[in-house]
């Protein structure tokens, strides 16, 4: 059943059973005339409203979505609306990065007695949506052909190759602890000298294979949850350790089970840029590191790769080159200049208007093959075999290969990572077709920082993640200000 063509727009309401649905009833009893666009879905509590329902609605043709719950402190279930407030506010600040106008989504509090207020709310929201007009849809967007190059942010510290890191001491340390451990996760030389692969050290001979340096790009924390309940060691860079902290926080590994080995990290290479620089080659002849550059000889040709130009962007913005904590830390953590630069992927989007962002995403996401490398490389994607993206119950997505499905998955991933993502960038690095999906997670991380006292994931295993808690009076959320 379509909306009244040309007269109505598609507006979906999620109303809690106790207060806001009651207010709509009260408005009805008072014969308070309202526009006819709104279709109400009754839910027990605003806390039941998964932000993904809203994203799904908006991606699939809703022109506006309104969520209403009980006033703070009036929740029939004590705290449902407090959680909803945080999640919905995060969502509201997330939508624009996708290219969806956040004015198309609103959430509010209303009590069962406030029929008149409900009437005003529906009227003003409907008028607002009519003023915005029908929502543009991703499948109709003309893909943005050209992407402006991204400026590299200044580096927070001198980047280097880590050639002087006390690797031998580390190996010794691992050997000492190895007898008590199932295995120790690290890196070894990959299929050629410019690639490393994960290493699972079980016997002392394995330890000799351990390498340290700018090629150690992969985040070994991704393997930890599989070892739950077993004693395991892990060698980490600073960024990897933040993932370990998150896993500890979520009880997916126990502190007493994991032994953390750490060296200070001087940066790792952006392998896509390395690949571009080296071009197509057959054989790596030689790889030499001096303090600040990597010199790679392939097919007899020498290439100099200064770390300052070839390090991953996340290394330039890194504030934690050394592990958050470790059982055997070795070496000194370098001085880091704490400056807050917007990551370039996100800065690129910040500079665009909503239409451009929609066009950008529709252009980028089309080439997604749904291989889920992004998901599986993410150390925080702990659902693994039971991801909602490919389940039938619940059935959030179909197998269709269209833009909305592909983008919806990215929204699922990003929102499920809210307050948990440490920005390790593995999702984007793993993407074989180079879709700059990290920006979505970065926007949420930025929002979480703004809203919840500069909270950044992966620093405190005892912290309560902001989306799993609430304040009765939120300092940074001003949800009552819209009219």
């Amino acid at each position: 059943m379509p909306v009244m063509e040309g007269k109505e727009l598609r507006i979906v309401g999620f109303l809690c059973n106790w207060c806001s649905y009651g207010s709509a009833d009260t408005a009805g009893v008072a014969r308070a005339w309202q526009p006819t666009d709104l279709r109400i879905i009754r839910v027990p509590c605003s806390g039941r409203v998964d932000p993904l329902f809203i994203v799904k609605s908006l991606l699939n043709g809703a022109d506006g979505v309104l969520v209403a719950g009980c006033h703070p402190r009036d929740c029939h279930y004590s705290a449902g609306n407090f959680y909803a407030r945080r999640r919905l506010e995060v969502l509201k600040r997330f939508l624009p990065v996708l290219g969806i106008n956040d004015a198309r989504f609103e959430y509010t509090w209303i009590s069962a007695s406030e029929g008149q207020r409900w009437q005003q709310m529906v009227t003003s929201f409907t008028n607002r949506i009519h003023a915005l007009g029908p929502a543009p849809r991703f499948e109709n967007a003309t893909p943005l052909p050209k992407v402006v190059g991204m400026a590299l942010p200044p580096s927070s510290r001198p980047l280097g190759t880590g050639k002087n890191a006390p690797l031998d001491d580390l190996k010794q340390g691992i050997k000492e602890k190895l007898p008590d451990l199932e295995c120790v996760i690290g890196w070894q030389r990959g299929y050629d000298g410019v690639h490393t692969a994960p290493l699972f050290m079980k016997i002392p001979e394995d330890v000799e294979k351990l390498v340290w340096g700018p090629f150690n790009v992969a985040n070994p924390a991704v393997y930890l949850p599989k070892f739950k309940g077993k004693k395991v060691g892990i060698v980490v860079k600073g960024c990897d350790s933040r993932s370990v902290v998150e896993l500890l926080q979520e009880h997916l590994v126990a502190r007493e089970d994991v032994t953390i080995f750490a060296l200070p990290c001087q940066g790792t290479l952006d392998m896509s840029r390395v690949k571009e620089k080296l071009g197509r080659y057959t054989v790596v002849d030689n790889v030499v590191c001096d303090e600040t550059e990597v010199i790679i000889t392939v097919d007899g040709k020498k290439h100099r790769l200064p770390m300052n130009d070839f390090a991953q962007v996340k290394c330039r913005l890194c504030t934690k080159p050394m592990a958050v904590f470790a059982d055997t830390p070795l070496g000194e953590s370098p001085e880091v200049e704490i400056a807050t630069h917007v990551p370039p992927e996100l800065a690129l989007l910040d500079a665009m208007n909503l239409d451009e962002r929609m066009a950008y995403w529709s252009g980028q996401i089309t080439r997604c093959l749904r291989c889920y490398a992004c998901r599986n490389a993410c150390p925080m994607c702990v659902c693994r075999d039971y991801c909602v993206s490919d389940s039938r119950d619940p059935r959030w997505m179909t197998q269709e290969a269209d833009v909305t499905q592909k983008l919806f998955f990215q929204a699922i991933h990003a929102l499920h990572l809210a307050g948990r993502c440490t920005g390790c960038g593995e999702c984007q690095r793993a993407c074989p077709v180079g879709i700059p999906i990290l920006a979505l997670r970065q926007q949420i991380a930025r929002t979480v920082e703004e809203l919840f006292d500069d909270y950044r994931a992966g620093f405190d295993p005892a912290a309560v993640p902001p989306l799993l808690s609430y304040e009765v009076e939120e300092k940074s959320i001003r949800e009552r200000e819209w009219k």
Binding site: M1, V3, M4, E8, R10, V12, N17, Y21, A24, D25, A27, G28, V29, R31, W33, Q34, T36, R39, I41, R42, V43, P44, C45, G47, R48, D50, P51, F53, K56, S57, N60, G61, A62, R73, D74, C75, H76, Y77, S78, A79, G80, Y83, R87, Q119, P225, G229, E250, H251, L252, V382, C383, Y386, V388, S391, D393, P394, R395, W396, H416, L468
Partner: protein, 652 residues
């Protein structure tokens, strides 16, 4: 499925602005819909009978009624379909009256919207599953937290009704704030004289177990089956042996111990019994001031105790009580009035709280009822009462009225005149709130018979005049003039807030509280005693400011609620609760962290940690469902797939 759709005309309520016939025609084309009807009044008996008949005749296994709000008749129709042999959850409603016909005048748009609401309902219903309630036993025992007058009343009423009562009191004696009062308004009768007998009844009632000097440590379980851990604080006196003779207190050399019972207007000994009528009348050692416990030498009380009850090595102990209901009657405390820097912020000895004044007036107080200035012991000539200190003051975030200050201020002014006939009292007030029986008459008497001067206005500052008195600056808003009064003693009617620790208790009980910390009742008007946690009830000021008679009444009301609940042998749960798909669950515990009711616990299943819903505790909010990233936690009757079906019906 075979779905029947009933489009109710509701007389002309719906049919007036919705083309019901057209809606029914459209509904016929929805998937699985095999039958439609348009009853005039579906809720009326013929309507319900027709529905039952249709269910039989067309072998319907799901029903959609498009009519009024489900908040009106969902329960009615669920019973109807159940009578016809369907599970009550194989039913959905489309609200086409309150949400359509009553709020829109355009018939076309209304008809279209009504049909679409039916479509959503059908989409949802196609994903519904039959649900059944479970029954469970009830422990017919009640725990009452707080032994003030409200808690005492609840305890006595329950105990008289045959319900075993566990009464937990944080202080060493029950009696609460009322025990500290000298007299009560509007009759000016002795507080201790009317409360005392009730306290004694508590001590003597065979159905009441009293845990004084105890706190609630932890609450688990659910209505009918709560398990409460009570921390019995160390008294350092074996109460089994203590006879309350008071020898210990007489001999105690630590005589400068601050006297909390007397609101710190005087001092007491480190081992003491708070007041002569205390229940239980047992001594307690104040560990922070006891020489034996702080310095390791003294032992005087142990030496003199005739029964050998002193036990310096005593530790806190935990007792666990299994109860079916809990009444919270935790009362209030005065707010920290020292935020009023302009009143000296606590620096002036003769600017005191009304509760301190109450102790100064009381014959059991530190002065033996002799009204004197704390600073110099002189009799005050001019006494100024300032009302609304910390009440009705948005500037410090306390907009609420403390309800009983107007009355006790009048009482205290009257008592002042009775104690010191030469004195003159002044009352700065905002409005006089005296709505109770004989209340207004009482304040009038204060003014007219006792010559209390009432000045309508707030006090802007109090400061010592350098000559031994205080200047109280204020304004008389009736005259529109500033006023300054020289006072010997200033009594602040300090606003109240929920007793300290209330928020922590609320979290243990999983009930909510308002801005000032008072517990939230289930409904402001219609459920003032219930909370949103089944089996937890409220009595007294912990729910909001009220005076003694109102507290007593609510105490009795809470007792009645408990007894009504205990009248049943078995309780039934609501099947619209969460469940966990164990295969999907990774045991990350996010649902456990969020659940407002503690209704999810970790469970080890074949060596893996999984979440498990405690069916009797879950209230069905669905927060876990929107929290669980794997979609493992699902709320029955509002599963992801059910809501997605509705979303998909609207947006595609």
């Amino acid at each position: 499925m075979r779905i029947g759709v009933f489009i109710c005309h509701c007389g002309s309520n719906i049919a007036g602005t919705v083309d019901c016939t057209k809606v029914a025609e459209i509904a016929k084309k929805f998937p699985d819909v095999v039958y439609t009807a348009e009853p005039m009044y579906t809720c009326a008996e013929p309507g319900q009978t027709a529905m039952e008949d249709a269910i039989h005749e067309y072998r319907l296994d799901g029903v959609v009624v498009a009519s009024c709000s489900p908040r009106m008749h969902e329960a009615t129709f669920r019973r109807t379909v159940e009578r016809a042999g369907l599970n009550r959850y194989m039913f959905e409603m489309a609200n086409i009256r309150e949400h359509v016909s009553w709020i829109g005048k355009e018939k076309d748009a209304n008809t279209n919207k009504a049909a679409e609401l039916v479509e959503i309902a059908v989409a949802k219903l196609r994903n519904n599953r039959p649900l059944t309630a479970k029954t469970f036993d009830v422990t017919k025992k009640v725990l009452i937290a707080g032994g003030g007058v409200a808690g005492i009343q609840s305890a006595l009423d329950c105990a008289d009704g045959g319900v075993p009562v566990i009464l937990v009191e944080r202080e060493s004696t029950i009696g609460g704030k009322m025990a500290k009062l000298d007299k009560t308004f509007p009759t000016v009768d002795c507080s201790a004289c009317i409360l005392g007998p009730k306290m004694v009844d508590v001590a003597q009632h065979p159905n009441i177990t009293l845990h004084a000097y105890s706190e609630i440590e932890d609450v688990s379980g659910y209505v009918g089956n709560f398990s409460v851990k009570i921390r019995k604080l160390a008294t350092y006196v074996d109460w089994e042996k203590c006879t309350g003779c008071g020898v210990c207190s007489e001999k105690c050399p630590s005589k400068k111990t601050p006297d909390a019972f007397n609101e710190f207007t005087g001092t007491t000994t480190a081992v003491s019994i708070s007041f002569p009528q205390a229940i239980p009348k047992k001594a307690v050692i104040n560990a922070r001031h006891c020489r034996q416990l702080t310095k390791g030498k003294c032992g005087v009380c142990a030496k003199f105790c005739p029964t050998g009850a002193i036990d310096y090595a005593m530790q806190d102990s935990i007792v666990t009580e299994e109860v079916g209901c809990i009444i919270a009657a935790t009362g209030y405390d005065l707010m920290d009035w020292t935020v009023y820097r302009e009143y000296g912020g606590g620096a002036y000895p003769d600017v005191i709280t009304s509760l301190q004044y109450e102790r100064l007036l009381s014959s059991s107080g530190p002065t033996g009822g002799h009204l004197i200035r704390p600073s110099d012991g002189g009799e005050p000539q001019n006494v100024v009462f300032v009302q609304c200190v910390g009440s009705r003051d948005k500037s410090i975030g306390r907009p609420q009225c403390s309800a009983f200050c107007c009355m006790y201020t009048a009482k205290q002014a009257v008592l002042t005149k009775e104690h010191l006939p030469e004195s003159q009292s002044y009352v700065f007030y905002m409005d006089i709130r005296a709505p109770g029986k004989m209340y207004d008459e009482f304040t009038r008497r204060a003014m007219e018979e006792y010559g209390v001067e009432y000045i309508r206005g707030r006090v802007s500052a109090i400061y010592p005049d350098g000559l031994g008195q205080y200047v109280v600056m204020g304004s008389d808003t009736l005259l529109g003039e500033p006023v300054e009064i020289k006072a010997d003693l200033v009594v602040l009617a300090v606003g109240i807030e929920a007793a300290r620790g209330t928020r922590a208790l609320a979290e243990k009980l999983r009930i909510s509280y308002d801005k000032s910390g008072f517990f939230m009742e289930s409904h402001v008007k219609l459920k003032p005693v219930e909370t949103n946690t089944a089996g937890v009830f409220l009595a007294g000021v912990c729910q909001g400011a009220k005076d003694i008679p109102a507290s007593v009444a609510q105490g009795s009301a809470a007792a009645a609620k408990v007894m009504a609940l205990f009248a049943r042998d078995k309780l039934e749960n609501n099947p619209q609760i969460a469940f966990v798909d164990l295969r999907r669950c990774v045991g990350c515990g996010k649902c456990i962290r969020c659940c407002p009711f503690g209704a999810i616990k970790e469970k080890d299943i074949r060596g893996e940690t999984k979440a498990q819903v405690i069916e009797t505790v879950c209230q069905g909010c669905g927060l876990c469902t929107s929290t669980c990233p794997q979609g493992a936690a699902q709320l029955s009757h509002a599963t992801d797939n059910q809501i997605l079906a509705e979303v998909n019906a609207l947006c595609r």
